[in-house]
Symmetry: C2
Subunit: 149 residues, 2 copies
Amino acid sequence: MIIDMTGLRQKLRERQYKVTPQRQIILQIFLDNQDKHLSAEDIHNIVRDQSNDIGLATVYRTLELLSELEVLQKIDFGDGRSRYEINETSTPHHHHHLICLSCGKVIEFEEDLLENLENSIAQNSNFTIVDHQVKFYGHCQECSLKSEH
Amino acid sequence: MIIDMTGLRQKLRERQYKVTPQRQIILQIFLDNQDKHLSAEDIHNIVRDQSNDIGLATVYRTLELLSELEVLQKIDFGDGRSRYEINETSTPHHHHHLICLSCGKVIEFEEDLLENLENSIAQNSNFTIVDHQVKFYGHCQECSLKSEH
DNA sequence: TTCAATGCAAAAACTTTGCATCCAG
DNA sequence: CTGGATGCAAAGTTTTTGCATTGAA
């Protein structure tokens, strides 16, 4: 379960933030690109392509706000910029990332097994865990095949 | 098992890189600070404190090289800069990080359970996994206590 | 001796901030 | 109307790059 436009408006009002066109446009872009991991610049470009210009500073501020509202999740893939995707951590089905060290491609996978691990760590560490992020690094099938000559 | 100075010299020679004082000084800093997650600036400051100045550009280039050699591992804790620690992924005992969302403190924990997960993912995804990185987000004991009023 | 490595400064890349203007409530 | 939101430009941070000089092999 991910948030929809109505949900966004509600969250914003609840916390006395204003429902602006910019904020809705940016959420819509994430809804239209759920398989992607968009950076601030990506968003800015997509908005421009829709001839719906939004200042880059506003894009950054909106991404930060939406992350704070837990509408988006910030991820780092080591490419020097922050990327975001729609948050679904409140769901039992987390998804995580396989990152190809050869071509940089990011593949998603679902898994639930980590819940157990989370519980056992919480018990042993006096740490209240609210979220986790897992990245696996390796080589995707294409790249593996290529390097076999 | 982590690398030592002799191991570094060997790795460098193997790949025809030169064994320079700068590279050895930087590895030594990681050996002396195994519990820390050092950024380029941290390294630069530590070196200065030892009145052993190294140019910041060289620090960056060395961190990149040592990561490529798998002597170091690059980590991102979301604080806007890259951090590094000695790589021990070739060991059966990976360690991972608990990141406190309240105070930013990073706590380490050991675990082996992820090996199974890695295997099952590899089978289901045609992905050859060579490493993984796990981060748990939550609240440390201190911060949890504080917020209970 | 020779070419990789270093140091410095300049540049690049990403993100944040100040401030005047705008507009959602 | 009014204060929060936006846009723009300027500034801040982190990281990379060009080039002359140095030094490991």
